[in-house]
């Protein structure tokens, strides 16, 4: 049958036809446009509206940006330059203000000659953060390091003689330590952040170097007490001692020692920096000091509060719930006012401590309550089996929390924790209401109060807003990176 059939077919094609290109409406840009912008009447209307908004905004803003002036000493000069170049009706941005007031936006009224101190603190911050933020040495980190190094060279050229000396000293010290400990950078630097707290305090506020050293010595004292007592008297006594010993040291031991050492050594630069008052702080130095300290302290405090709130002990739970709900129920401004107006009522007569410290305490408490709620959510999301498994292994409460519960709960709550951090950093602008010079309103008003820059509105807001955006946006991107890195399922 088949033979017969094959003879009856006159022609059998043995090659494929070359495929035709799809119709114009089904390929390339046109297809993309049809699918993404004009897929139906509703979408078409939305697209036209969107284009209208974009055109309106560009029309409004672009000429203003294009007519920018970068070199001038006052707003009037700016305006005359714009009129001279672009005609009498033109408007333009006057970024010259930022050039001229850059240091005020960054440092507030910090003395000029000491600008190298906050800069050095900021650079060391990157070194301190690296071991916390990045677990392994990657290409990106090298690039970041390169950027920081370039920044160092540039800043060293601009600001004073002590900056390069300080940086060289730090680089040499870190290189030496790495050489001793092996090259597993950045993991081996995990102790540096604690030391950094002391260094940064000393650099920013000045005074004797022995003040931060004595404060850090307290931590060493506590650690030693724990290590010595733990094998002899058991964990509970050791922990109690580790808490009590530093307090005793800070309260009684540290001051005579500081006095003795500072008297023994001359008041010269490596041992003693000229002190800077808190009311000279301002601008982004202030925002970063408050924001970073708040972030550093609010996380551990939030964890403790969250654990307290989930505790079986009625009293502990009640105290934690009361604290968290109270803090979350009132605006931050009222807490800041409490710090500036009322705190003196609640402290022994005659006590008067630093306004920045008070603000930091309040911001930390505020943020800790929010973080506690985020972490409580993470703890509640853990399956009960995890707790039961930890109990079945015979782990005690703290070991179970440290090894099993917290790593998982914190991983779940990363997005919430980071958005609390972002909120905290944004809230640092509120310190202007207790008469501190925050970059947004404090410094901007100060700039606008001068004769040269009276009436300048948009440029300072855009500049400060852009910096806040940069910091907060990178924080949220980092949280996404961290979530990705810690993801253990679906690999």
């Amino acid at each position: 049958m088949s033979d017969l059939h094959s003879e009856s077919v006159a022609f059998v094609r043995d090659t494929m036809l070359t495929p035709q290109s799809p119709p114009a409406s089904q390929a390339g840009a046109i297809k993309w446009l049809r699918e993404n912008l004009f897929s139906g009447p509703m979408n078409t209307i939305l697209t036209i509206l969107g284009v209208g908004i974009v055109v309106y905004l560009v029309n409004l803003g672009l000429p203003w940006f294009l007519h920018s002036v970068w070199n001038a000493n006052s707003l009037a000069e700016c305006r005359s330059a714009i009129t001279a170049t672009w005609g009498p009706d033109a408007h333009g941005a006057c970024w010259a203000m930022i050039r001229e007031r850059w240091s005020q936006f960054m440092f507030g009224f910090y003395p000029n000659v000491f600008y190298w101190r906050p800069i050095l603190a900021l650079l060391l911050l990157f070194v301190a953060l690296a071991p916390i933020l990045f677990a392994e040495f990657s290409n990106r980190l090298t690039i970041a390091g390169g950027v920081v190094a370039a920044l160092v060279v540039w800043l060293a050229a601009s600001y004073g003689e002590w900056l390069p000396v300080g940086i060289l000293a730090v680089v040499a010290a870190i290189a030496g330590l790495l050489a001793v400990q092996g090259t597993k950078w950045p993991h081996n630097l995990i102790w540096f952040p604690i030391v950094y707290a002391g260094i940064a305090f000393w650099l920013l506020w000045g005074g004797s170097i022995f003040t931060p050293i004595a404060a850090l010595a307290g931590i060493v004292v506590g650690w030693l007490a724990f290590r010595i007592l733990a094998p002899i008297a058991g964990n509970i006594v050791a922990v109690t001692a580790a808490v009590v010993a530093p307090v005793l040291w800070w309260y009684f031991g540290s001051e005579p020692v500081i006095d003795l050492l500072s008297r023994a050594l001359p008041r010269v630069e490596p041992f003693w920096l000229p002190p800077v008052d808190s009311d000279q702080f301002g601008g982004f130095v202030l925002a970063f000091v408050i924001g970073l300290t708040g972030i550093a302290f609010s996380l551990p405090m939030g964890i403790v509060l969250a654990l307290g709130r989930r505790s079986d002990m009625l009293l502990v739970k009640a105290l934690c719930v009361g604290f968290i709900e109270f803090i979350r129920g009132v605006p931050l401004i009222t807490l800041l006012f409490t710090a500036s107006l009322l705190l003196n009522y609640f402290l022994p007569p005659g006590t008067n401590f630093d306004i920045i410290l008070r603000v930091i305490i309040m911001v930390t408490l505020f943020s800790a309550a929010y973080i506690a709620e985020v972490i409580r959510g993470g703890l509640a999301a853990l399956p009960r089996g995890q707790y039961e498994a930890a109990d079945a292994l015979g782990l005690d409460y703290w070991k179970a929390q440290r090894l099993i519960i917290m790593p998982q709960a914190l991983k779940i709550s990363i997005p919430g924790i980071v958005s609390s951090f972002i909120g905290l950093f944004k809230d640092t602008t509120l310190v202007v209401f207790v008469a501190l010079l925050d970059p947004l309103k404090g410094i901007t008003d100060a700039v606008r109060a001068s004769i040269e820059w009276k009436g300048i509105y948009w440029e300072p807001y855009i500049f400060v807003g852009a910096i806040f955006f940069l910091v907060c946006f990178s924080m949220s991107r980092y949280s996404m990176y961290l979530e990705n890195r810690l993801k253990r399922e679906h690999r």
Partner: protein, 425 residues
Amino acid sequence: MATFADTPKANFRLGMLIYDTRYRSVTIQIVVLFLFMAGAAWLLNNLFTNLAERGKDLSFSFLWYRAGYDINQTLIPYTNDDTHFRAMLVGLVNTLLVAFLGCVAATIIGVVVGVLRLSSNWLVARLMTIYVEIFRNVPVLLWILVTFAIFTEVTPQPRDFKVTDQMIAEGQEPAASMLLFDSVAITNRGTFIPKIVYSRSLGEIHLGFLPISIDTLLVLASIVFGVLVFRAIGNNATKVQEATGVRPVTWWKRLLALFGPLLIVLVALGFSLQRPTLGGFNFTGGVLVLNSFMALWIGLTLYTAAFIAEIVRAGILAISKGQTEAAYALGLRPGRTMNLVILPQALRVIIPPLISQYLNLTKNSSLAIAVSYMDLRGTLGGITLNQTGRELECMLLMMLIYLVLSLLISSGMNVYNNAVRLKER
């Protein structure tokens, strides 16, 4: 047969207070209680010492003294002869006004943006992403200040609205014109909006110190009545549908029920809108909305709307695609799928974070201080505090009020949350 006996109590040793888990929690709680009491006693002792040293006492009687300052936005009658307590109430009402309007506007904008961010339209989705990211990552104070600067620096002066005969003769346009059929004028002195006037007004009743307009009460009652009838007709239609399988046509009845009573009441009261008109150098008639209020309201709204948009988007994304597909397989149209399947499930995810955004907005309204809007912080925590020098009492009272406000909002929203919650067996 082995039996288990309790550990004999007679063998109690002091060390068991720490090492025995049965007693340890009691020990810890006693220690915590002791520390807490000691701390509280220390603070209170300091407080009384300090108060005595400054010759002050703890008394709220200043609330009944004459306030003596003016407030530029008063929703309840107030003159500077009234008491500090009344000034505080005026401030509280101002706080509530901006918080309420802010929550409503932020919810509307947030839901629209959140849905549009998921739209298949490339351009619109990108625009909404840019909006959300920009507004979320910049302090809310900046948005309030920028809006205030726009309202005070960019908007025209009232005299720019003036149209003279000469200008008409020359065919010139005035420098600025009013919006919405000549009823709203945005000027650098404030925004003028139409005022509601009832020509056959029924007067007011005085509820203690608070005068309430009977007209407004009637209008509100007619709206509530309309909504109740509207829902009753809907429920009835559902019942008929369940019994017979056919849904009766009710849309015109429902429309009539919703707007009929309101229209009748408005006509009976002689409702009309009084437009602001330019007289001399400023507008007269209508209602003046302060620039500080507009700045605070718009700033808070746009900032919070960005967060709400993210919540709405997350809520919709949390519903698995299978739900939509199942609804389509059942033959539901997209609109009904959204209403009957997706939204009820998404609301469960959306409501709890939405509550905390409402709370945040209410608390952030205390930033009114940045634009000198006289809210609770401006009256009680501002001028009253400075005049009377009673920081402690003012701050305590203010915190208490904010705390109560937060608790009221969250409990009110929790009632709603329970209504939409998954009914588990």
